[in-house]
């Protein structure tokens, strides 16, 4: 079992290829890998509870750990305490933590 960190920087309402990243995360998790989806920059926008973005909830259900960059959330006035169920605010340090452990990291 490998560990993957997928970094999503794009807003799915603006970039249609975000679905590719979600699909990759879902498939990797289904294969038994440990997968983190880290949302940063405009990638945090669908983490809002009112956003029509069911894909993130589906990923959480599929066993993908979904984290959102706390700085990107603050920049956009999104409260870290009001995210979709299962999505946690996290400092960017988690990317360096995982890289240091040799995790496979993909930027999108």
């Amino acid at each position: 079992m490998a560990k993957y960190l997928l970094i999503e920087t794009r807003d799915p309402f603006e970039a249609s290829d975000v679905g590719f990243c979600h699909d990759l995360a879902r498939r990797l998790a289904a294969e038994g890998n440990q997968v983190i989806l880290y949302l940063v920059q405009n990638g945090v926008l669908p983490a809002r509870p009112g956003a029509r973005a069911p894909a993130l909830a589906e990923l959480v259900q599929a066993g993908v750990e979904v984290l959102a960059d706390d700085f990107s959330l603050r920049e956009r006035g999104i409260s870290a305490g009001r995210l979709q169920a299962g999505i946690k605010s996290s400092p960017l340090d988690v990317v360096i933590d995982e890289m240091a452990e040799g995790c496979k990291v993909i930027w999108h």
Binding site: I7, V95, I96, M99, A100, V105, W107
Partner: protein, 137 residues
Amino acid sequence: MAEKKTLTFALMDPPYESARTTTALRLIDIAVRRGYAVNVFAYEGAVLLPFARQQPHPNAVHGRNVEEEHHLLTKDVVAALAAEATQNGGKLDWVNCGLCVDERGAGEAIEGVRRGSPADLWKMAETSDATLVIGTR
């Protein structure tokens, strides 16, 4: 003492155009604060991040002079990251792609920046715990 880690980042974006640059520099900042060995391979527009001839400017629209505007220069950020790395017992090895530099006339980089080729990225990745490529698309 914690094991020294080596991380490599490949950057592609020019300064002042994308949030990707901010995130990339934040990541490098975290790594150098930990004393890690950090390699950066800058190609395409990213070779201008440490361009030595960047100049601060006033902002006439907001009525601010140079000092008041306190314009952030990415060359200063790169220098600060290198200093932070040294202070914490690590290092920042910044390599600018030579072809990309020549295309842009960006040869005047700040002290410490090396000129290299994509082969350097390969060597860096080979000796790193992890490599993160941050492309423009």
